[in-house]
């Protein structure tokens, strides 16, 4: 695998794209050799220090026509394969599997249309590696907690959208890059030839952590995929039931704080910072904030529903009730916000149902 050139990728389309890339590159090289060749020839031969006397011609209709028409023909030659490839890439009909891909600052959400499966996919690289306090692993910045899983040999359609700003979902090995525009759905598709793990990144500036929003896709043989998706469906169903059951249980302060801290670091710290102090003028501080100290309903509301018109997203559908309760509790008790108040899953649930 080359580190210096475009990847050929693992789909029919991506290798057509690669061939197109190489063809056009070679054509440019040839034109370059001709043009620069003529130029260097002049520079060496027609120099005054070699006694060159200037000619006086300054026009020649015939050559001028030639060098207008020939490039034009070359361009037509390039346009034809480009057109057919493009049309093939944009044909998303007759898909076998459909996945809705939603970007948000700064993670991806995958939702399978044909199964009751959906989840978020977050950067898995440790903050300490980014800050050079730990050695960086092989897949530094290109690893996520829960990759997208898809079958090989089937036509997979992606419905790409966003919750906040524009992101762009890109996997070089599939030659798929499509912007995720909030409020609109763009479609893309792929059919992967080989099982494997494929890595990409968000490719549209989407704010502070744009560089920390990788895409990882695992392609499995169809049978394996079926197995996986069934198990995942089952697991998610169980988790929902468990959630209901836990509703009636009280969690202790320690439990809440432990879970809360991990949720906070995963979902909140990117903006409000690990120390709860935010970034002045951009992201409000939670440490010592009036809301976090005094106003529980407002606190639950902003975490569950977000604050419209700001970067604060709605976490109601991203986190479980337990996680919501824990993170709110954490925010009310960490960094010297010692309210001593516990918020339980049932409280959040009650709030969401009213």
């Amino acid at each position: 695998e080359s580190q210096l050139n475009l990847t050929r990728g693992v789909t029919d389309i991506s290798s057509r794209v690669y061939d197109l890339h190489m063809t056009i590159f070679y054509i440019c090289c040839v034109i370059g050799v001709v043009v620069f060749g003529a130029m260097f020839w002049s520079m060496f031969v027609h120099r005054r220090s070699k006694g060159a006397k200037p000619a006086t011609f300054h026009e020649n209709v015939k050559v001028e026509i030639v060098w207008t028409v020939v490039p034009f023909l070359i361009l037509i030659g390039m346009a034809i394969p480009a057109t057919t490839t493009l049309i093939a890439m944009e044909d998303t009909s007759d898909a076998d599997v459909t996945v809705q891909v939603t970007g948000s600052q700064w993670k991806w959400h995958y939702k399978y249309f044909d199964n009751e499966v959906e989840y978020f996919s977050l950067l898995a690289t440790r903050q300490d590696q980014i800050n050079n306090r730990l050695d960086k692993g092989e897949n530094y910045l290109l690893e996520v907690d829960r990759p997208l899983v898809v079958p090989t040999g089937q036509k997979i359609r992606f419905l790409i959208t966003s919750d906040d700003v524009i992101h762009s979902w890109w996997v070089p090995d599939f030659a798929v890059k499509k912007d995720a525009n909030p409020g609109f759905i763009n479609e893309a598709w792929t059919r992967i030839d080989e099982p494997g793990i494929y890595r990409g990144q968000c490719a549209e500036l989407c704010g502070k952590d744009h560089g920390f929003m990788p895409v990882v896709v695992i392609a499995k043989e169809p049978a394996e995929y079926e197995e996986w998706i069934a198990a995942e469906e089952e697991r998610q169903l169980k988790a929902k039931e468990e959630e209901q059951r836990l509703m009636s249980m009280e969690m202790s302060m320690d439990e809440l704080m432990d879970l809360g801290e991990s949720v906070y670091l995963g979902s909140c710290a990117a903006c409000h910072q690990a120390n709860g102090e935010g970034v002045p003028g951009v992201f409000p501080a939670l440490k010592g904030s009036d809301m976090a100290l005094n106003d529980i309903p407002a606190h639950i509301d902003v975490v569950v529903n977000g604050a419209s018109g700001t970067a604060m997203q709605a976490f109601g559908n991203q986190l479980s009730l337990r996680e919501l309760a824990a993170v709110i509790t954490y925010e009310r008790n960490a960094w010297g916000n010692d309210t001593g108040e516990r918020v339980q899953a049932a409280d959040v649930n009650e709030y969401m149902n009213q």
């Binding site: 080359s2 043009v35 027609h46 300054h58 026009e59 361009l75 070089p172 500036l205």
Partner: protein, 532 residues
């Protein structure tokens, strides 16, 4: 000057000029003289180049190694954004306006620009505009961090407060550019000396004529775009918000309708400069003058039809993608005509290689390389892979740095004797050229590979496989940056003295500017010259 042997003798040398220029600071504040204003523009743009370059150095230092070392991501984004804005609006555009101010009146035999007071006004807006922009970096929440393209909704709902200042600063920059462009266009249409017909004008004048038209046509569109960003952010409109029936992609259409012609605004005057320098040092008339004019016009017309090639991944319908791909590819034809004309001008000439010529030759080759990568980007299906990677960054730095900036350096060396009356230090200048040439390629060439290998642009940290390339790039970057300090020194040295320049220090040079003494007297052509 070794090659100036055959240059004409300068009679006006110790003539007493009856230049009545004001003295002291008010000379510069109140001036209506195109040469003063030209100098102001040029110095301003050079300062901005250093400021924007310093930001690029921050970018390169952070990217020297994987991991976050120096700056946090939010600040990194501000650096990227403001670097782009400063270089485009603060360095390249004012430099061209400065050259236009100095040279156009002299080239067409006019006593000054057509609207001298407005000329002064357009210049003096710039320091205020950029002070506001740069000042916003120190605000709570930081300066603009949404890329020089300020895509909504990152620049609306999700941006910091400095956005309002960014918007108004762009507004007044735009006012300045429009007034500058009106001045150029009116000067060219109305102030040519008798006999200076359109098809006798030097190509620099022609290319600026067309550039000015592009400026007047698209700067107001930029003003519209920032206005909508302002109202979307602060006044509840939803131009770029689907919930209100708008579309974030609409922003991109409006922006690039400005943005693409804008990139040609930054290259057409270069074409004019190169078309002056190459014939001068090949001692042979420019090949295909008329076709150069037509090609420039064709590029300008096409530039209005290609904007969405920056938006291939936004999910446009296929027919739109095809339309924009074809139109974009077409631009290679008139641009090719230019390249071929230059090569044909060199063909069977009698070439010498003074510094302006060296920069011009480097321009032709490196701009063409940038054009080739542009053509590759135009191929929609492949652009899906290239888009928003360092391949794009490599493309536009080739056309902008080794294109626009190199042409500006070439112009500076070519006309410095006329401006200052002194020859610059040719030895130092040659060093400047060769060091720039090597370092700029170390800086930007490997970026192509980083992009092809999959490194996205606008990221403060990257995966390990890009580490080596980035290290090389950064080293090239520091070297290129330091080399530019040499240029500063050469210019200052030349202003302060040196070998006296003849009226026409380049024996092969053509044009009215070489018929007046060096330094050009404060007022030239108060009575118009006769053009044969």
């Amino acid at each position: 000057m070794s090659t100036a042997g055959e240059a004409i003798q300068d009679h006006d040398h110790d003539h007493e000029h009856h230049d009545h220029k004001a003295t002291g600071v008010t000379r510069w504040l109140f001036t209506t003289n195109h040469k003063d204003i030209g100098s102001l523009y040029l110095w301003f743009s050079f300062i901005m180049f250093l400021v924007g370059g310093a930001m690029a150095m921050v970018i390169r230092a952070e990217l020297f190694q994987p991991g976050l070392q120096l700056v946090d991501p939010h600040f990194f984004n501000q650096m990227t954004t403001v670097h782009g804005l400063i270089m485009v609006f603060g360095a390249v555009m004012p430099a061209f306006t400065g050259l236009a101010n100095w040279m156009i009146p002299m080239m067409i035999g006019a006593p000054d620009m057509a609207l001298p007071r407005m000329n002064n006004w357009s210049f003096w807006i710039l320091p205020f505009a950029f002070a506001i922009l740069l000042g916003s970096l120190f605000m709570e929440g930081g300066g603009p961090a949404f890329g020089w393209t300020f895509y909504a909704p990152l620049s609306t709902t999700y941006s910091s407060d400095s956005t309002a200042l960014f918007v108004f600063s762009v507004h007044i920059m735009g006012i300045s550019s429009i007034m500058g462009a009106i001045n150029v266009i009116v000067t060219i249409m109305n102030m040519r000396a008798p006999g200076m017909s359109y098809m006798k004008m030097p190509l620099f004048v022609w290319t600026w004529f067309i550039t000015a038209f592009l400026l007047i046509a698209v700067m107001p569109v930029l003003a519209g775009a920032v206005t909508m960003v302002l109202t979307d952010k602060y006044f509840g409109t939803s131009f770029f918000d689907a919930a209100g029936g708008g579309d974030p992609v609409m922003f991109q259409h409006i922006f690039w309708f400005f943005g693409h012609p804008e990139v040609y605004i930054m290259i057409l005057p270069s074409f004019g400069i190169i078309s002056a320098i190459i014939p001068a040092f090949t001692r042979k008339p420019l090949f295909g003058y008329a076709s150069m004019v037509y090609a420039t016009a064709a590029i300008a017309v096409l530039s209005f039809l290609v904007w969405a090639h920056h938006m291939f991944t936004t999910g446009m319908p296929v027919f739109a993608e095809l339309f924009f791909m074809y139109c974009t590819m077409l631009i290679a034809v008139p641009t090719g005509v230019k390249i071929f004309n230059w090569v044909a001008t060199m063909w069977r000439g009698s070439m010498t290689f003074e510094t302006p010529m060296l920069f011009a030759l480097a321009f032709v080759i490196l701009f063409t390389i940038g054009g080739f990568s542009g053509l590759m980007l135009a191929i929609t299906p492949v652009d899906f892979q290239y888009h928003d990677t360092y391949f794009v960054v490599a493309h536009f730095h080739y056309v902008l740095v080794t294109g626009a900036i190199f042409s500006i350096m070439a112009a500076a060396y070519y006309w410095l004797p006329k401006w200052t009356g002194n020859m610059y230090d040719e030895t130092l200048a040659k060093w400047h050229f060769w060091l720039s040439l090597i370092s700029v390629n170390v800086l930007f060439f490997p970026m192509h590979f980083a992009g092809l290998a999959g490194m996205p642009r606008r990221i403060p940290d990257y995966a390990l496989q890009f580490a080596d390339i980035n290290q090389i790039v950064s080293i090239g970057g520091f070297a290129f940056g330091l080399t530019q300090l040499m240029f500063l020194w050469i210019v200052i040295k030349c202003c302060r003295g040196g070998e006296k320049a003849l009226a026409k220090p380049w024996d092969g040079a053509e044009g009215l500017e070489w018929t007046v003494p060096s330094p050009a007297p404060y007022h030239t052509f108060e009575t118009p010259p006769e053009i044969k």
